[in-house]
Assembly symmetry: C3
Homo-oligomer: 362 residues x 3
């Protein structure tokens, strides 16, 4: 695919979607897992077409190794953690977090060659991030997501394995005009039909859009303590600091708050996508309210609503992926770009640039 | 495969079965669905390796489009019909039956480029027929099947998705000597062991064969009001007007009818096959009696009997397909042609000729 | 793969495991089935990537044919045996054990071309062996396994289909140092950590290893009538006469037998592996005690214990295979050889030599 093909999101431009090949930059932070998923019991997860074992040492330090013993290829994720080592289930070989074999119980010497690739991991916000590319190339921290663990916020989240290429999910969450159609019966926010203008703030893809008085999606009313039918003003702010994560802030202004009630609230959505295998991706969502200590009932109700909506995305994106995979025309069928694809087109530009920097192309 | 390889159905001739590649003519009418299957609720169906959405407008007109929105590839079959338009589930784009986009709700203009392939459809008999090839090449109507909706006949039918190449089904229903073996315990018609002579009537493959007094298969006795053990005379007439459909008429003569009873009856079987995906086909069967108004009980009993028999075909053909697909020898294992393969061999000749006319070959 | 790559099982040597391609010698006896599995009801089984039908004639003679009718490819395993013939389910063609068609019921003549490949089979011990290669090349009998049906022994056995390449199983059963790790909670034999020396006795891979006083694995105590915690002396003897089968003898010496009790026992394990399809193998295990007439209860208890342990192997080997199949690095990831891999390395040497003799290579 030629970079210039996607420079301008012209209305009606027909472009090929080479993006849906399994291409993804390696030299960046991707989310490997929610913090709570990683424990002393090893977790097997495909990340960027690589089998990875994620685990914590006895002292809580997270670690990530290539999930194949160098001896006879047993998955270490079937083994166990012993102090600061992970132990292979097959013949008991032990490895440190750098991937070095520290013990081969069937013999006295420990071969230098018994070495596994290891991956740097970092905890930030509610998630553990992983760098699958060249460790020498690490030139930044994971994006700032400290609000996720800030006690001033209530952070809800969930996870889906989606049988669709990660770009399909990334583009889905950056063009929210689909809410009025795909999520008509769940979000019930039917005023977001005209897309926002997209602009760049450095490397960050951004948009801002204001909406007139209208009831807020019932999905977020409970979290803000608002009645479902009350007209409010809304400002939607979107930001995608990296291909791994984007934010969708719902800034709500209640022009007529009840006595002793706040008039302004934020629901910060976050959409995290990580490539898994061919045509399969991990999708972690977050929904955070700038309201501390949401009750269990409100949290559960909100999560149930969000899940009902995201089930609709998963269903549709998996249908699209299946169609692409099974149709002999596959990706030869040209896509028509609309005005609403401004953010999605920028995703492709960024992706192209990053792949080129890694000496790869689409 | 060389056309000449299949000219003569010589006994014991060894031929390769290149037919089982997914090759099929496009410039002909195939059955897309039973009429009742197509409603305002869109139906997704693979036809000739193409994902197709079948639906009816509010006024009942049937329509067929390529089942991928030109914008971001969502299957229109997940959307809905609104009057004379089908609406994409993702961002609400609307299309007419010619595949033109008539509305893109997220913007004012409607790009000319937003265009989907559409396919001509026709209702004939109990089925909706589709032309997947060049619309300019339409030079005929679907085969005459008006008996299917003639009130003088009682028409029963059913549908199978079969995980086997369509040619395997087509050949199966044209060599009915398998009834005495594969359907020994269901058809119980053990006198059809010698195959009929095959002749051509224009483009139609034909056979006729008379049988001496013998009980009729119990599958068809109820429909004709005959006792199961009564000896009758039988004439089998077969016709295949196109690769899409063949008829198998069971002409029954009761030489000693009960008082006030007819002595002659016809059961017209029809076998409709449509390629779906690689190694997968649609099979629609019909069983029609020239007896008006069969009772519900007789109809259900007859259908149950036919289904029990056709389950045996489906099971065996899927085993054959699985063997072909998994065996490294695949289609390199030569087939031996018998005298009973006369009709099947003509199928291959016709297929070869039609593919050649479309500039394709096996 | 170069033969010299695997000559020396040096500690820490990094080698590619080209063995896990689906390569296997054809000119040797492999086990097709347990004797009891083959009856007059035809059995379909993939052997060396070939669909085979295994059956017995009315007189009990076992036979094996390629499982595809030469006419229209129906699997004969869906048919039935009639005396000395197997009958095709589709059109009733009959074949003798040499694969010659002896009857085609839809016609008078029987074409010479209607011929199916047949495979020599031999019954030896508890199993039926098959020669899938050149019948002219048969130069030996199946390995001597007469103990399996010797009334002086009690022979227990079982079968697994394993979704893993046969070499993974073959190597697993030749490096029993994995017992102390993978089978820690089932075998409970934790003293077998140091591997034995490997030597060749002609073409047979061998090892012998003695163990000090220690309780015997509870899996085998019941079969020998020993209390589970009694310290005994143990000598492990291993032999692999061909790639198809290996033996693992547990020679037990009880230094303080109860009055009127024997002091010496043998449990002869046998591990039989046969390639099935890509990444799939048949695994037959045997456990024989030199104790006649084990009670039903002891036999069942012993089988349950062995099955619990071999379930652990199956689970792990299938995980390894899945990782190899799905990981884009697949077999490019180098294996590190340890001292314990002496027998496994000889397997690769023998395999290389046999493939070379058949004009094939890895």
């Amino acid at each position: 695919m030629n970079v210039h093909d996607v420079i301008s999101p012209r209305n009606g431009q027909r472009i090929s979607n080479g993006m849906l090949q399994d291409n993804y930059p390696r030299n960046m932070w991707w989310v490997a897992a929610h913090r709570d998923e990683i424990t002393e019991k090893p977790l097997a997860r495909w990340l960027l077409e690589t089998p990875v074992v994620l685990y914590r040492l006895a002292d809580g330090t997270p670690a990530a190794l290539y999930d194949r013993c160098p001896h006879r290829w047993a998955p270490l994720s079937e083994g166990h953690v012993d102090g600061s080592k992970i132990v292979c289930p097959y013949h008991g070989m032990e490895f440190d977090t750098a991937g070095n074999c520290t013990k081969a119980p069937t013999q006295n010497m420990t071969p230098d060659t018994a070495q596994i690739p290891s991956y740097p991991v970092r905890e930030a916000g509610a998630f553990v991030w992983i760098w699958m590319g060249d460790p020498e190339a690490i030139n930044c921290d994971p994006p700032d997501v400290h609000y996720q663990t800030d006690p001033g916020w209530s952070f809800l989240s969930g996870y889906y394995q989606v049988d669709a290429n990660w770009v399909l999910i990334r583009e889905n969450v950056l063009d929210l005009t689909h809410i009025a159609f795909l999520h008509k019966n769940t979000f019930k926010q039917d005023d977001w039909v005209t897309p926002p203008e997209i602009y760049m703030d450095g490397e960050t893809v951004c948009y801002e859009q204001e909406f007139d008085l209208a009831p807020l999606s019932p999905l977020f009313c409970a979290g803000m303590g608002l009645p479902e039918d009350k007209p409010i003003k809304r400002k939607q702010i979107g930001r995608m600091p990296t291909l791994a994560i984007s934010f969708s802030d719902w800034n709500v202004h209640d022009p007529a708050p009840e006595p002793d009630r706040r008039s302004d609230f934020v629901m910060r959505g976050c959409h995290i996508v990580t490539p898994a295998q061919r045509g399969r991706a991990h999708y972690f969502w977050g929904a955070a309210f700038d309201v501390p200590g949401l009750s269990h009932d409100v949290a559960e109700k909100t999560k149930a609503g969000v899940i009902a909506a995201f089930d609709e995305d998963k269903h549709l994106l998996e249908k699209i992926q299946a169609q692409i995979s099974q149709d002999p025309r596959g990706m030869d069928y040209l896509e028509v770009t609309l005005g609403a694809d401004g953010a999605g087109v920028r995703v492709r530009q960024i992706l192209n640039k990053m792949l080129a920097a890694e000496g790869r192309s689409i």
